[in-house]
Structures are given as C-alpha cells and as structure tokens.
C-alpha cells in the first residue's frame, strides 16, 4: 500500500536534476525532503503530480504504476505548491466551492465553511482573496488541497507565510492526515516546525536521495547537526565519492 518512486531521472537541457532516484513512502508516513536550492526537490514533487514527465523511471502506488492520464490517479493527489492556485476576485468560500465542484465533492455552504474552519479561516471565508495576506492565502490553499481527501499529499514549502498559530494548525492537520493513512511528501527549510510531524528526513543531492534519517525521538539539535554535515560536504567531494 505504499508509494514507490523507481529510478526516476529528469534533466533540463544538459543539467541532470534527478538521476535514477529511488524513494519509498508508506501510508501514514510524512517524509520531509531536504537539500540545497536547486537540488531537485520541487522537480521531484512535480513529477509525482504527473505535470512533469520524467525521462526515465516510474511512480507506483500499491504495486501499480500510476497512469497520470487517468483522472482518478490525479484525484488521489493533493497539492500545495509555491503559488496558491486561488482566484483573487472570488471569496475564500467561492474558491473552495469551485474546486469542490471540479472534484465533485460536497459543495454546500456547511461543508465548505467547515473546510475553511479547519484551517482557522472561518472569519475571512466570505472576504475576497485579494484582501488576504500571504499567510491567509496559504491557509486557504491548504484547505483547498485537503478538500477532496486525497491519499497522497505533495507539499512544497507549506509553512511559507504561516504565523506560529497557522503552523501549529497545519501540524495538527498533518497529524490527523497521518493517522488516516495518507502518504505525505513535504519540502521545507523550517526544521523546528517540521520535526514533530516528520516520520523521516531525506537529503537530496546529486539527483538522488543521498541519505535518510528516521525520526525516532530526534531532537532539533540532532537533525540540525545531521543536515549541517550534509550541507558542509563540498559538491566536488560528493562528486568524487559518487564516482
């Protein structure tokens, strides 16, 4: 019942971003993806959405290769990217209603107000999105991503713009999602927030997962030291090691 990424490669021109990357995620697991800027974290997420086609490799869910041409396969995925995917002139509720209709889930007022209350947006739900702050947009976009109860959540920097309270609400939601057996893949630079919810950390370098760390009562200091070691390794040295 897991999500498996097998031998995925992607390059832009001559620049190899992902190089035979392998990664496996179990249900109820939240994997936190770390790495330098340009290490290919977002590229990997986009490949998992099916929006970007890899040159080689495949993505499997429950021992079946995902066929992104199938609408159901795409509906299994909830997505939070750098851009919030919201319409500025519509209110929060209207934005949610639009996506609820596209996904054909309950689009009545009660359901949508409940969805916005989950991210603490009940007070602003009927205000147009153009009046929102970055953090409010981020909250709403998280509600949007969870709206159709997807089995896989792909989150690119979900803490962007969120205040302390927002981050805590988000963490609470993610813990619920983990309990429901969702598979969650997240990128972030905010280790202190990510630590309590992450099951595992993976470090991306040279186009593949170069190291992993399972979160068994790790302290923030543990993970920060681990990451600092990874980042301190000069690229050329890694190159030599890989060769």
């Amino acid at each position: 019942m897991s999500l498996a990424i097998r031998q995925v490669s992607k390059s832009f021109g001559q620049h190899h971003v992902l190089n035979s990357l392998d990664l496996e995620l179990k249900p109820g697991e939240l994997l936190c993806l770390l790495g330098r800027n340009g290490a290919g974290k977002t590229t990997l997420l986009r490949i998992l959405t099916g929006l970007l086609r890899p040159e080689a490799g495949s993505v499997w869910l429950e021992n079946q290769q995902i066929d992104y041409a199938e609408p159901h396969a795409r509906h299994d995925i909830g997505l939070v990217m750098h851009q919030p995917f919201l319409y500025e002139h519509l209110t929060g509720i209207e934005n949610l209603r639009f996506y609820a209709r596209l996904y054909q889930v309950a689009d009545d007022k009660t359901a949508l107000e409940a969805a916005s209350a989950r991210v603490g947006m009940q007070r602003f739900a009927h205000k147009p999105v153009r009046a929102y702050s970055r953090g409010m947009k981020q909250r709403l976009t998280i509600a949007r991503a969870l709206l159709h109860s997807p089995r896989i959540l792909l989150l690119d920097e979900p803490y962007t713009g969120l205040d302390l309270q927002g981050s805590q609400t988000f963490n609470q939601l993610m813990l619920e999602q983990k309990q429901q057996g969702r598979i969650i893949l997240m990128t972030t630079h905010d280790l202190s927030h990510a630590l309590p919810i992450s099951s595992r950390f993976a470090f991306l370098a040279r186009g593949r997962v170069s190291d992993e760390l399972t979160n068994q009562n790790l302290s923030l200091e543990n993970i920060e030291t681990w990451l600092a070691q990874k980042l301190a390794k000069p690229v050329s040295a890694q190159k030599g090691a890989a060769a």
């Binding site: 001559q14 620049h15 340009g38 290490a39 290919g40 040279r206 186009g207 690229v235």
Partner: protein
Amino acid sequence: MLFANKNLKLLSFLALLLILAAFAMVLFYAPIELNMGIVQKVFYFHVSAAWIGMLAFLVAAVCGIVYLNKKQLKFDHIAFSAVEIGLLFTAIANFTGMIWAKPIWNTWWTWDPRLTTMTIMAFTYIGYLLLRRGVDNPEKRARFGSVYAIIGFASVPLTFFSSRLLRTIHPTIFGADTGDMAMIPAMYQTMGVSIIAFTFLFAALLWHRSILAARESELDTLRAQTEALEFGEVLDD
C-alpha cells in the same frame, strides 16, 4: 563546412541544375503568349513559388503534428525552417504576381482569392515567427510553434473558399472552370520543370536551414550552461 553530408551536396547541385534548366526553358523554349506577351513568362516562377509557399506550410503543420507526438526537437527545427523559407517564397509569389498583374489587370493589387489567401498566409507565417520570439524555453517554443502551424494550416483552405465566394478574376490553370488561359504543351512542360526545380530547391534549402537551426539550438544550450556556471546557479552537480 558548406555541406554536412554527401546526399545534401548532391541535392544542392541537382537543385541548381534544375533551376538553370527551368530558366532556360522559360526564356528559350516556352513560346510567348499571344494575348499577354512577354510578361506572361513570369508566371512559371510565380506558380512554382506559390506552390512552395503552400508546401512549406504543409511541411510545418505535419512536422508540428509529429513533434507533438514524438517531442523530438529536430522536427521543430524542420518546421521552423520550412516556415522561414515558405515566407520567402510567398513573398516571391506575391511580387511576381504583382509584376504580372500590373500590365494584365492594370493594377498592382486586386482582392483576388489566391492573392488574398497567399498574403494572409504570409501574415500567418510572420505571426508564427513572432510567437516563437516571445518564448524563451525551447521546448515550449516548439510546442506553441507546432500548435500554431497546425491551426494556421487548417485555416488556409477556409480563407481560400471564403475569398473565392467573394469574387475571382484570377486565371484558373489547373482544373479549369473557366478557360481564360489556354496552355500549349510547351507551356505545360516548362511549368512542370519549374515546379520540380523549385521543389528540389526547397528541399535543399530546407535541409541546409534545418542543420543551421539544430546548430543554433546547440549554441543556445551551451550559452545557457556558460551563463549558469558564471552565475553559480548550478549548485549541485
């Protein structure tokens, strides 16, 4: 390096010979038409150029379809080259048409269906080139170019039918519905040789230009890499 390979060299010389032959036939073999006089001779190259204009657009549209299916940039290079050459030949067809029209129809320009269609087609070609200039990413540029070449080509027959519905005074030579230009065998032969010569010329030019387009694309990649290195953008690998 003028010729990338032997076949291209052969094709280029063949095209040259055929063009010279066509020239000779137009000047010395084809008779002078009774009603129109010497100026009628421009029409051998006029029709041939117009034919290449159409053929080029067809090639671009077909390469567009192939590109969208295969996603190999070489088909985009061929499509782009075909459009550039097609634009040149469309211009030749228009100008030779004007040279002919001035003494015969007593005007440089008429709203004749073929002339109108040819000119609108030229604008579609120009649009195609502008569209490509507006996109930096080569993959996206190829996709958009392909889509536009396909829809542009689909609209050409419709443009022709509608301008024909409006009016026509253009002489119809093939599949004549009115017999306003009678051709004798020597004229047909000259016409045939001209069209074949232009087709070979087109093939040779297309080949040369596609090679150049592929080189340009390589150069772009190299340049992008150098820039990325200079700005230190490639942090990993």
